[in-house]
Each structure stands twice: as C-alpha cells, then as structure tokens.
Subunit: 162 residues, 6 copies
Amino acid sequence: MNETGGPELTHLDAAGHAHMVDVLSKEKTRRRAVAQCSVSMSEQAASAIANGDVVKGDVLAVARVAGIQAAKRTADLIPLCHPLMIGAVSIEFDLEERSVRIAASVETLERTGVEMEALTACSVAALTIYDMCKSIDKGMTIGELTLLEKTGGKSGTYSRDE
Amino acid sequence: MNETGGPELTHLDAAGHAHMVDVLSKEKTRRRAVAQCSVSMSEQAASAIANGDVVKGDVLAVARVAGIQAAKRTADLIPLCHPLMIGAVSIEFDLEERSVRIAASVETLERTGVEMEALTACSVAALTIYDMCKSIDKGMTIGELTLLEKTGGKSGTYSRDE
Amino acid sequence: MNETGGPELTHLDAAGHAHMVDVLSKEKTRRRAVAQCSVSMSEQAASAIANGDVVKGDVLAVARVAGIQAAKRTADLIPLCHPLMIGAVSIEFDLEERSVRIAASVETLERTGVEMEALTACSVAALTIYDMCKSIDKGMTIGELTLLEKTGGKSGTYSRDE
Amino acid sequence: MNETGGPELTHLDAAGHAHMVDVLSKEKTRRRAVAQCSVSMSEQAASAIANGDVVKGDVLAVARVAGIQAAKRTADLIPLCHPLMIGAVSIEFDLEERSVRIAASVETLERTGVEMEALTACSVAALTIYDMCKSIDKGMTIGELTLLEKTGGKSGTYSRDE
Amino acid sequence: MNETGGPELTHLDAAGHAHMVDVLSKEKTRRRAVAQCSVSMSEQAASAIANGDVVKGDVLAVARVAGIQAAKRTADLIPLCHPLMIGAVSIEFDLEERSVRIAASVETLERTGVEMEALTACSVAALTIYDMCKSIDKGMTIGELTLLEKTGGKSGTYSRDE
Amino acid sequence: MNETGGPELTHLDAAGHAHMVDVLSKEKTRRRAVAQCSVSMSEQAASAIANGDVVKGDVLAVARVAGIQAAKRTADLIPLCHPLMIGAVSIEFDLEERSVRIAASVETLERTGVEMEALTACSVAALTIYDMCKSIDKGMTIGELTLLEKTGGKSGTYSRDE
C-alpha cells in the first residue's frame, strides 16, 4: 500500500523513480509460470506452415529455439527484471486453420517468479513465426498474450481461470 | 512462387531448411514501418500509471527506452532477421481508461524492411509495462500486435487499412 | 602476497596470465556496494536538463534505465568479472548548477562483491547523460568515479571516508 | 533552437519524450573521435601493473580488449545511440607513477559521429583496470573522461583545446 | 612486411599491441566465405540423430539456428573482428555413419571478408550438436574446422584445394 | 532409455521437439570440466606469434580474454544450454612449432556440468587466434576439440583417457 492507500507499483520508489526492487529477503522456492499467445493469419499462411512435415518442423523449430533463447535473455530485455537462472523451458505449438497457438512454460528455483520469462518466450516465438510467414501474409496479428498460470512464491498460485 | 505454384516461405530453402535469405541484390532505399499493440488492464492498473506526472512519466519512459533498445536488438532475437542499421525510432503511448496503446515507428536506409524492428519494439515496450504493473494486475493481456504501415522497398507501400 | 612479498594482482596467475579467479570456496553473503560519479557541464546544459518537469524526468529516467541495465551486464563488459545475480539496484541523481551527481547502489547475495556492478552502473548512466546533452555541450567531463562504500564479504566494510 | 529560443536536447522530441533521432538525411562521411580518461591509484597499484613485462602486458592487454569490445557495443549500452559500423579502434595507455592515462580513438564512415564509442571504450578500459587492481587499492578514482577531438560530419572539427 | 622483412600480424600495431585495423579505405564489394567442420561421434549418437524424421529434423534444425545466430554475433565474440552486416547465411549438414559434416556459407557486401563469420557459424553449430548428443556420447570430437573458400575483396579468391 | 530401449537425446522431448530439460531436482555440487583443442598453422604463423615477448603476449592474451568471455556467454550461444554462474575459468596455451594447443578449465557450483562452457571457451580462443593470424596463413585448421575431463555431478568423473 502507498501513502494514499491505493495499490502500488513496486518498480517505482517513493519518489516515483524506477529501481530494481530488493528481492534478497525472499526465499528461493520452486516457481513455475505458463504463458500463452496466438498468431492469427490467413489460411494460406497456416497451410504453408503445415505444408509437409519437414517444412512445418522447421518453421516451428526455429520459433521454438527463438523462444527458449529469449526466455534466457529476459532480464536483458526488460529493464527492471531481476536476472535469474532458468531451470527448464518448453514451448508448445498448436497449429489451427487460421492461427498458431503458443504456450510457454518456464521453471526456476529462485527468489522471484518467472512470468516475464514465459511471456517473453511466447512473444519472441510469435514474432519469429511472423517473420517467417510475412512474405505470404503481412496482415497477421499477434494477440491474447497472457499469463495462464503461476505457482510458487509467497503470493501463491495464480490461475487465469480463477 | 514455389514448385507447386503456391506461396512460398522465403526463409526456408528448397529442402525446407531455415536460412537467412540473400538480400544483397536489393537496393538500399529509405524504408519505414509502423507497428502497434495494446495492453489491456484493470482500471486500477491504468490509474496507477496515470497517478501523478512523475510516476506516469517514469513507467512509460522505462517502457519507451526498453522498446527503443529492443528495436536495435531485433536481429539478435529473431533468428532469420537480417542485421541492419536503424536510423530513427520513436514510440508513442496512448493511455486510456483500461489500456495503454503503443505505436512504434522505425526508419532505415537499408536493403530490407524494418517491420520486425517495429513489431519487436512494440512487443518489448508492452512486456515492460506488464512487468511494471504486474504487482497490481496479473490478468493484463497484450494484444492486437500488428503492422500498421510499411513503406519503401520493391514491394511498395503496405497499409493495414487497405 | 607474491614471491617478492609485495601485494598481488589476484586476476593474474603465477605466470602473469589473466584468469577468472576461483571464488567457489567463498561463502554466499549479503553484499552491497555504492559508487558515485559526477558529470560536469555548462550551465546551459544543466538548465536544459532541468527545463520543465517532463523533460528533466525523461533525461534522467533514460540514464537511470541505462545504468540499471548496465549493472546487469557487468560480467559481459569487464572480462574477468564473475557473473552474479543482482538482487537490487537503485540510481540517484542530484542535479546541481553545473553538474549532475550520480550514486548507484547494488545489492546481492553472492560469493563476490558488487563494486564493479555499482561502478559500471554509474559509468553508463553518466555516458547516457553525456549522449543526451552533447548537442548542447561537447566539453562535458565525467569524473570522480569512485567506490563510496562496500559491505559484506570476508574483507569487511570499506568506506571511502575512512 | 526550441520554442523558447534556448538550446535543445535533440534526443527529446517536442513533448519531452526520448526518441532516437533521425539521421538518415545526413551524409556518410569519414568521422573520427578521440576520448581520454585517467585512473588514479596508489603507487603500490601502479607499480604492480608495471612489475615485469609480462604482468604489465597482461593487465593493459585485458583492458585494451575490453575497451575495443565495448566500443562495438556502445549502441547496446547507451539507449539513444545509433548503431553504426566501426572501421578502426585503438586504445593507448600511459602508465605514470600514480595513474594510468587512457586514450581511445575510433573511426567510422557513417552518418553519425563516434564520440560515444570513444568515450565508452575509455570508460570500460578504465573499469577493467579498476577490476584487476582492486585487490590492492579500493580507493582508485576514474576521472577526467572527456572528448579530446572529433572530426568529420557537418558540425566540423571539435578540439578540446580550442 | 614488417621491419625485419617477415610477415606481419595486422591485428598488432607497431608496438605489438592489439587494435582493430582500419578498413575504411577498402572498397565495399560482394564477399563470400565457406567454412566446414566435422563432429565425430559414436554410431549410437549418429543413429540417434537420424532416428526418425522429426527427431533428426529437430537436432539439426536447432544447430542450424544456433549457427546462423552465431554468424551475426561474430564481432561480439572475436575481439578484433569488424562488425559488418551479413546479407545471407546458410548452413548444410551431411549426416554420415559416425559423424556430421557441417558447411556454412556467408555473404556480405562490406569492406572486410566474412571468413570469421563462416568459421564461427560452423563452430557454434558443431558445439550445439555436441550439447544435444552429449548424454549419449561424451567422447565426440569437433575437428577439421577450416576455411574452404573465400571470394571477393582485394586479396582475390582463396580456395583450400589450391 | 526411450521407448525402443535405445539411448535418448535428453534435449528432445517425447515428441522429438527441443526443450530445455528440467535440472531443478539435481543437487548443486562442485563441478569442473577441462576441454582442449589445437590450431594447426604454418611455421611462419607460429613463429609470428612467438616473435618477441610482447607480440606473443598480446596474441595469446587477446585469445585468452576472448575465451574467458565466451565461457560466460555459453548459454546465450548454445540454445538448450542452461544458464549458470561460472566460479573460475583459466585458459592455457602451448605454442609448438606448427600449432597452438589450447586447454580451458571451468569450475562451478551448480546443478549442471560445465563441459559446454569449457568447449566454448576453447573454441572461441581458437577462432581468435585464427582471426589474428589469418593475414599470414589462411589455411589454418582448428581441430581435435574434445572434452578432456569432467568431474562432479551424479554421473561421476569422465576422463578421455579411460
């Protein structure tokens, strides 16, 4: 709570300046976060991704690698994120008729949660799909990027469905 | 066009393998791309951002810096993107009652377009806002990330409204 | 002590070659370092920074973000620095008539101190201010970059004033 | 000139927000910048650096490599710096009784100057010397970081002595 | 030629210090380099890579992405390498009974050659294969990393077979 | 073991997709890895490296710094490598008549081994030597990159000689 009793932005100090908040008094616990997003595209683009096993493998394989690497660089991209050691990452794709759904799961054993790592992994995997398909369809939309689930840490379990 | 007369994914070679396509025969021309996205949030989170000039300044100022820096790292994040020298970047925010709209504009004088740079800038600016507001609202959604406009280069002008 | 009984440069091995020294037998303890520096400039440049709340906010906000991010990249910049997980960073500015004073504080819970992280944060924040003001004053000087205080670790507390 | 007739911070737009300014209309010309700084230290630290050819070679060799690499990463460290292709870098050291003087020279053939690259190279070389000598002397001061000379570009030659 | 009439290491100046040599007087021409290497492994490891289309696709797809990204980071890894804009990269694998042969081709239109980019791409692709197969075979050897061909630039064409 | 009873590639999940495997249930123990490789070159190149103490110092000093820094960036280069905190790195060179032998030793106190860090350090040190000597000899070969020794962790000690 801040002075006026309202919610507070913990990344800003009392004077409203950005700082990286102190997490050193938090305990190291196993933490997990799952994020998801969706890339909407023309049927033509979706079927180009699906067109043959090898090609499909490669488009999504490249996006998967990009997402995993982005998870590791999260603290380098998001200014006030704490650096942390990721212990596991996996990224799943679900290719539909006019979209690709992406889910990224990240686990760690640290003092802060990994929701930013999961969201960043989803986001960069989606941008990679966009990049690889933009010669066919420039009108793609990346949407619905959300945190699906977060477990571990003092604040307990968060689930979007609740 | 590929062998079967369908559209082709230029990032995949004839065997379906990823490669970075040859752009060296393209001309260096002035190119510009504008991308946009939106961060939907609770009224509480939006008003925390807006709560006082200094605080508002700082949240969006941090997101703006993060977006500009991300534009410069696009080729490092997106595996098959060509490296290029960005000549100008600007990021604008429009704070609404329950969302922040983000628009990123990137310009260059290179052989390839800068749509990935503009999309990446939007995306990382949005993730930064999420990171700074997640202590208030974990249910935020980042959505509607699209290319709004693209000018320059052989393929001519693209505008989402057309 | 080295062979001749003089002080030794621990980053060089017995043959005088650079190596990253072994810190694995040190204990993980809470460690903190504070560094400071100063950017001297013309009155014109200092008043341009101070000219209006929004503008002032933005110059120093950008420098603050740059300094925080640099703290996280210290081991990537300084060859023999150990990588470590930063737990907290804050950067304060004091705008005077012809200078900006910068203080950076970094905390961790690791096997090595964070003086290089604090010094690097100060240094990059100062360079960012230089970059943003150089259109007005090319004659700025960045000076007096020193370690102000260091606590934690086996070597005990260091304070510049002692 | 800005509205009030005073000097302007070109990194801030009309609304006072940070942006990366458009340099695309500038011409590519050969540009050079030289920066310098000084690391003040105890006689003990200075003589440890000088103590034997091999050791001296290594301390300054490591600092030289760090400075050259930092010059290449300038746009990644300083948020509003334009990326550019460096064509030449050299770093010279002058070891005195109680200090090391550092001079860094950077050349390019681009649309913007390389003063930030030269200043960043000096700064990181100095931090590296600090890191390698801090086991002997924690009271070192890095100072007098300035632009010595800048040639090329529309604004003509700048020399600190003028 | 140096003073003693012998060959010279152009990355060292007259005093034997490292510097990044001046390439600004060289012309921008189309340049290409091809490098190759080989990862020797047990039959068991080679057949695990080949075991099923999907799995094979993924191991080599990950290595391909890693190699392409490494090509873009060459100047960040190799201290005296000039930064340059890569225009095309492709990496081919040839899976044999007890080895994987890797060939990387890089093209650019710059003032310096791209042999380091091609060699770095091969090297990181090979390390990625090692990483992905080390649970089966720790005794793999990465060998025969060489420049196969280099075209463009003042020094003319180099071919290993000559 | 996988379904068919053969060895498994732990970096691929049940569906053959790449993921970063979960190491969080492993214990943090002291781990060490030593890797080696060799750069074969003409006598002319080898004697240019050896030609005078200062020059020799600098070539190998630059390669040593490059190798140490590469060890710290391993997880950024190799897509499925876990990030970890390196506790010690040293790189030794053995200059022979027509080759340089490189050995890199890395130690940590983490949940995964550091063989990739040691191999990456060797590899980048070798590439740096190649870069610095290629003006004399383009026909150099980097070979025999292997893991020499690995200790710590559940799988026990590995030694190439066994």
